[in-house]
């Protein structure tokens, strides 16, 4: 049985705790980044994330950038890849992006396909709102 807000603590996850943490709750995957999002981290994350999406029926992804201040084009690739995977039935939100990460989102055009919120609370509330409207 799935507990709400369950945090994965398998060995694999413990090992990666330094770089990112994730949490799945009611079809929503929240990823909190602790390390700069570059090609090195993106490679590490994408298979893990795709596994979760498939196994747990995730249709909303929220990526929390509030603890990091760097992302390069590999981060764009990571987000685009997940977007292509779930766009037909879900969406992606980005929260806590600082100025330079926002600039990257803007230049890449990613701001047009993901939702951008100031913080996790706003993103969660908005998603609840979305649910109710349906």
């Amino acid at each position: 049985m799935e507990r709400e807000g369950e945090v994965f603590t398998s060995e694999e996850m413990e090992r990666q705790r330094m770089d990112y943490i994730y949490m799945v709750s009611k079809g929503c995957l929240i990823i909190s980044l602790n390390a700069e999002l570059d090609h090195h981290l993106a490679e590490e994350m994408r298979h893990v994330i795709d596994g979760i999406i498939d196994k747990r029926g995730v249709y909303r992804i929220i990526i929390d950038f509030s603890k990091i201040d760097f992302m390069d084009s590999a981060g764009i690739g990571l987000i685009m890849g997940r977007y292509k995977k779930i766009r037909d039935y879900g969406d992606i939100s980005i929260v806590g992006a600082n100025e330079s990460i926002q600039r990257i989102l803007l230049i890449s055009g990613l701001h047009k396909i993901v939702h951008i919120y100031e913080n996790l609370n706003q993103a969660m509330n908005h998603q609840k709102g979305g649910h109710n409207e349906k």
Partner: protein, 146 residues
């Protein structure tokens, strides 16, 4: 190489491993601190260096073993960084530099690397030929707003 020209100079070689991408960013950013860069300038340099070094690892050496060199220099407030790999090289530089062009879509490369290097630095030069490795030279004036 002895430095008689630049205000400050460093040259580093490191293994072509993705874990060294962050290392290369730190080296370049930290080398610039003497110029008193703004947070935005540091972020620009980190992004550009990250793109160039990642390309050397992913494309130049195809994620296999290899050696990457990075030279950093400062002269009259201008920061120059040269990233070099001895990898497969670029066939058609013009096409490679087009926005969104990538030869590795299956690796989720976005094709935005060169666009970011151009956007965040003042100058970008790409020297490469098939099987001749690749040399990326980028320049940026630091503290330009003063």
């Amino acid at each position: 190489m002895k430095n008689n020209i630049y205000d400050n100079y460093c040259e580093i070689t490191f293994d072509s491993k993705s874990e060294n991408e962050g290392f290369a960013r730190v080296v370049a950013a930290s080398f610039c601190t003497g110029l008193d860069p703004t947070l935005e300038e540091i972020s620009d340099i980190k992004t550009a260096v990250s793109e160039a070094v990642t390309n050397a690892i992913v494309h130049g050496y195809n994620n296999g073993p290899g050696e990457i060199s990075m030279k950093c220099m400062i002269l009259d407030g201008i920061f120059t960084v040269i990233v070099h790999d001895d990898g497969v090289g670029i066939d058609n530089i013009h096409r490679a530099m087009e926005p969104l062009f990538t030869t590795k879509p299956e690796m989720e490369r976005s094709g935005m690397g060169f666009s970011f290097m151009e956007a965040f630095m003042d100058e970008l030069k790409v020297e490469s030929a098939k099987n001749k490795g690749t040399t990326i030279t980028m320049k940026k004036r630091i503290g330009a707003q003063v």
